[in-house]
């Protein structure tokens, strides 16, 4: 509606359109570029790139299989989301319903600040605190493992989960709450039987979002996952997620070799994984607008 009115202002409209188009093309070109650079690898290796279990770029011919890395990425990301879910729900509910107001005032900005801490600091603190603990208590012979990495990632994504959940709770219509309390149910019943089911879409969306964030995280997994090329068969094994592989080896691969292309293929796999999650989120937003029109 506004758009057509505004477009009468030709000069500004043109400037806007040009700027937005340019920047969008730039942003989209990330995707196109990655596809283009990885193309020779797909052409030469095809499906084995995805299912091959061997990654040895200096052998002749180079063995380039991404399966262990993809599996590590999934272990780490799904593990982190699973670890974060109960804690996130607990803390979100706490902030929305049970927190004494002073605790809320104290905790909320702190949680916000937690989102601002860069992953290298999480990785650093995690590697110096958790790795020795993991060696002691988990009985693994060296503390780095997919589990340790997902523990740190869980803490990294927790603030997002808490934030959205609390937001979703507060956005629920007051009527439900008033009606429920008037009927004499406990706040706990209200939360877990009424509010939580009502905001399950928001919860699902934020979980998906967290999964995407966890899959793309680099520094923390680079420092904590252990960097082993073996196919990870358990959560406590070591592994090298896609992001760590790219960060470690990008400097080494010479341009024009299939090794270089394979690193871009790794980037493409990671990108597509996150894209799929984002598109799911986006379609959920449509759903929100049309069906769950709350306000």
């Amino acid at each position: 509606m506004f758009g057509s009115l505004l477009r009468k202002d030709k000069g500004v409209h043109f400037l806007c359109l040009a700027g937005a188009t340019f920047s969008t093309l730039l942003v989209v070109s990330v995707f196109i570029f990655i596809v283009r650079e990885s193309w020779p690898a797909w052409k030469n290796y095809g499906f084995t790139l995805l299912v091959g279990e061997e990654w040895n770029p200096v052998s002749h011919p180079p063995a380039l299989g991404l399966a262990p890395m993809i599996a590590s990425t999934l272990w780490v990301a799904i593990g982190a989301t699973l670890l974060a879910t109960p804690l996130g729900i607990g803390a979100g509910v706490f902030l929305a319903e049970f927190a004494p107001s002073w605790v809320g005032y104290f905790l909320r900005p702190l949680i916000n600040l937690l989102t601002g801490i860069p992953s290298v600091i999480y990785g650093f603190v995690g590697a110096s605190l958790l790795v020795p603990l993991a060696e002691k208590f988990l009985g693994i012979n060296s503390g780095e493992s997919l589990f340790t990495a997902s523990l740190v990632l869980a803490i990294m994504i927790l603030p997002y989960l808490v934030g959205t959940l609390e937001g979703a709770f507060r956005a629920l219509p007051k009527e439900y709450r008033e009606a429920a309390l008037a009927l004499g149910v406990s706040p706990q019943y209200l939360v877990f039987r009424i509010s939580l089911p009502l905001s399950r879409k928001a919860l699902l969306a934020s979980l998906l979002f967290c999964l995407g964030r966890a899959a793309g995280e680099t520094m923390a997994v680079l420092m904590l996952a252990g960097d082993v090329r073996l196919f990870p068969l358990s959560w406590f094994a070591k592994g090298e997620p896609l992001s760590a592989l790219i960060a470690l080896e990008t400097g080494t691969a010479a341009r024009g070799t299939v090794y270089y292309n394979a690193l871009f293929a790794a980037g493409l796999v990671l990108l597509l994984l996150v894209f799929a999650i984002n598109l799911a989120l986006f379609s959920m937003k449509r759903y929100f607008r049309e069906v769950v029109k709350i306000d």
């Binding site: 040895n56 770029p57 200096v58 052998s59 020795p132 060696e135 012979n141 060296s142 780095e144 680079l222 252990g226 960097d227 082993v228 090329r229 073996l230 070591k238 090298e240 470690l248 080896e249 400097g251 080494t252 691969a253 010479a254 341009r255």
Partner: protein, 302 residues
Amino acid sequence: MPRRKLLSCIAVILSIFCLLSGCGKKGSQETGAVHPPAAIKCGGSSTLAPVISKCADNFTEKYKTWDKVRPQLPPDPIIIFVSTGGSGFGVKGVLDGVLDIGLASREIKPEEREKMPEGKIFKVGVDALAIAVHPQNPIIQVKPSLTPEELKKIFSGEIKKWKEIDPRLPDRPIVVCVRDVGGGAAQVFDELVMKGTPVSKEALQLPSMGALASKVMENVDAIGYVSTGLIAQNPGKLKPLQVEGVDPTRENILAGKYKLARPLLMFTRGEPDERQQLFIDYVLSPEGQKVIEEMGFIPVAR
């Protein structure tokens, strides 16, 4: 309208910075066209990079501007960058023109040499790979010497437990630590010990020699090939094992008795220009060689 003022102020500041940054860029490009590039970019081997950074720091501190090094040169400030990323990165960076001077802690392979036929290679030091373990590892008392065959078995994953090396050792898994494929050490070790047998996939890959050394320092069950320089830099925290009964001492390495030796190289794609040559000369001078010795490597005899 204070807000409007604020806005216009910010707009002005932004545009000034735009202009300034534009000028700065142009300026550096112009100087680049007239004189040889003012800044020297070095990069490569994670073993050598800390040494070269230290040399670069000393060199810059000592002379500050180029005319103090050699009066004919213009009084530009000396600017040297050192990046790390492994010997593979060094070779590749020099070939791509990203780096001026490459750093490698292995021999330059013939196929790499072919791509830079006019390149110059300078040997600035000698290093050796010591098979290092944690100082509390009982293998130091029980079996202080390993043969290349045993090493091959350990690093290829054929031997998985300490007990399998010697029955007196604990029944615990060996944590094998290696450098990733970009590392010079990985290739030297591959050539001298593994001879084509792939390294165990269970081995922990570490992104730099420093990281490898620190992993072995922290973990009692770890074993890894650590540069002798890093063993000297962390006295008492790492214990080198003998290979075929030979200790990785300076004398043994120089005499060629210790087999896992490797050169520390600086190289350029073409003929190094005057400033690059001056810096390489500094590294080769007694002052630069002193840094190499301080960092635990063996200086080259001139």
